[in-house]
């Protein structure tokens, strides 16, 4: 008997053993900017504690999808639910701007490739982390300082520099401040948009190791976007491959890299140095 092993068929396979419900579910997400169809009928499911990698060439839609997950943009079509304590499963795109901001501050952390997007460069590093806590309602200076310190420490940021401004720090250190800000409230979901791109190899290894440790120790669910297949292979449990706004293949990370099913994925994997 021949099995239908197409990406669509594998995506359809319903979990039978996994008891946990997905943390993140996106259904049929489409987005057009002018004449450009950035996302086409994208489905995504991420389970608690796993790292989902998203790979694809520039313009494939991976960062757009991540921005949708961070509620920074609204698709033309599609639903998005996060299974969070004390929340119903309504479509998050129906939330008001204020509700989105509060939900993201409390439950979603993000690390951008460009630290300028995630940090106030002229505020102190600890102040950047505290700002996140302030949005979520924390007001005590002592608590803010203690929590900022704890998050910076967990992100392996040298505490002797916690009052330095990000503009005075190296790229790797800036990413650690972003990471500390992102995890300060122990988010259910951590979104990582090319977090190591532009960093030198040794700093990249340190950032990846920190992420892996956070995922292991705190069971943080992560979605990692990268064009670097080595980073995805090191970090991800499952992988989505995107091209022209569509998911062309998804599967276990080792399967996608060792036995790619789609011609584009084969091309991508074979092109890796």
């Amino acid at each position: 008997m021949s099995l239908d092993m197409s990406p669509a068929a594998l995506t359809r396979a319903e979990p039978r053993l996994m008891r946990a419900e997905p943390l993140l579910t996106m259904r049929d997400i489409s987005k057009t900017y002018g004449d450009v169809r950035a996302l086409r009928h994208v489905d995504a499911t991420v389970y608690p504690g796993e790292v989902m990698g998203i790979v694809g060439e520039s313009g494939s839609g991976k960062s757009t999808l991540l921005r949708m997950m961070n509620l920074e943009d609204t698709p033309d079509h599609g639903d998005y639910t996060l299974r969070l304590p004390n929340r119903d499963d309504g479509n998050l795109f129906d939330l008001t701007r204020y509700e989105r901001r509060m939900l993201c501050a409390r439950h979603i952390g993000i690390v951008y490739q460009n630290p300028h997007l995630g940090l106030l460069m002229k505020h102190s590093s600890s102040g950047n982390v505290a700002e996140r806590l302030l949005i979520a309602g924390e007001r005590s200076f002592e608590v803010l300082r203690a929590k900022a310190r704890e998050a910076l420490d967990a992100s392996e940021f040298p505490l002797s520099r916690m009052d330095a401004r990000p503009i005075e720090l190296s790229g790797g250190m800036q990413q650690r401040v972003q990471l500390a800000k992102a995890i300060a409230l122990e988010p259910a979901l951590l979104l990582l948009d090319e977090p190591t791109t532009g960093l030198d190899v040794s700093v990249q290894a340190l950032v990846l190791d920190t992420l892996k440790r956070l995922q292991r120790d705190r069971k943080i669910t992560m979605v990692l976007v990268s064009h670097d297949l080595g980073v995805i292979r090191t970090m991800a449990d499952r992988v989505m491959v995107m091209r022209h706004g569509e998911v062309v293949e998804q599967g276990l990370a080792d399967q996608v890299f060792q036995d790619p099913q789609h011609p584009y994925t084969q091309q991508l994997v074979h092109a890796k140095l």
Binding site: M1, S2, L3, M5, L10, A13, E14, P15, R16, L17, M18, Y47, E50, S202, A205, L206, L208, D209, K212, R216, D217, T234, D237, R238, Q250, G251, L252, D254, Q255, Q258, D259, Q261, P263, Q266, Q267, H270
Partner: protein, 243 residues
Amino acid sequence: MTSTPLLRVDGLTKTFRMYHLDSMLHAFEGVSFDLHEGEFLLLRGHNGAGKSTLLRTIWRSYLPVGGHVWYRSNHGEIDLANAADVDIALLRREEIGFVTQFLNARPRVAAQDIVAEPLLLAGTSQAEALDQARHWLDQFGVRPELWRAYPSTFSGGEQQKVNLARALILPQKLLLLDEPTASLDVGARAALVRRLSDLKGQGVAIIGVFHHPGDVAQLITREINLNTRVVADQSEEEENVAL
């Protein structure tokens, strides 16, 4: 053997489609066999016969194009050939292990931390996990001065010892071994055979590919030869089996 098998491979077929060559590569076709708890199945065959491919297809690094791999998990029976990815990931964490001949070490992670990681993921305390990691590093002959070093700088043999310590630290129900003795010295080979013997005694079912099967001769329960395209369990089709 009359008990319900742990694994029932039925007509498993693997073909690779290579788009850049516009061709298909047939790895194996119609492989069928049963495996019971505590059995050690040796896969034989010449280079390219599909031994490692079969292991990877059961592990689901490779996607089969036909057939079934029925596995009796602690959560119920499931066909690994078409199970959801998250179910496969769950089984890999809890029940099925795969040992390759290469260590996939993350940069800047110490040997003892690499070995301890499966225990930490299973909920063991940091101190206990590190204790056990050091024990198994020691068992496989990794010198204590290397336990906190990064394996990327180790020799191939030392890396393989770390790999084995990590892969075998948690007892699994099903263990897939892809030439685990390659590049090991005599002491480490002996340690590996002792560990495999213990696991087999605990009921772990094992399928292995070995460059030198003599290393594990005393553990082998059955053999399957993949030199023919259509392969069945030796108990059903003796002509396909070269003992």
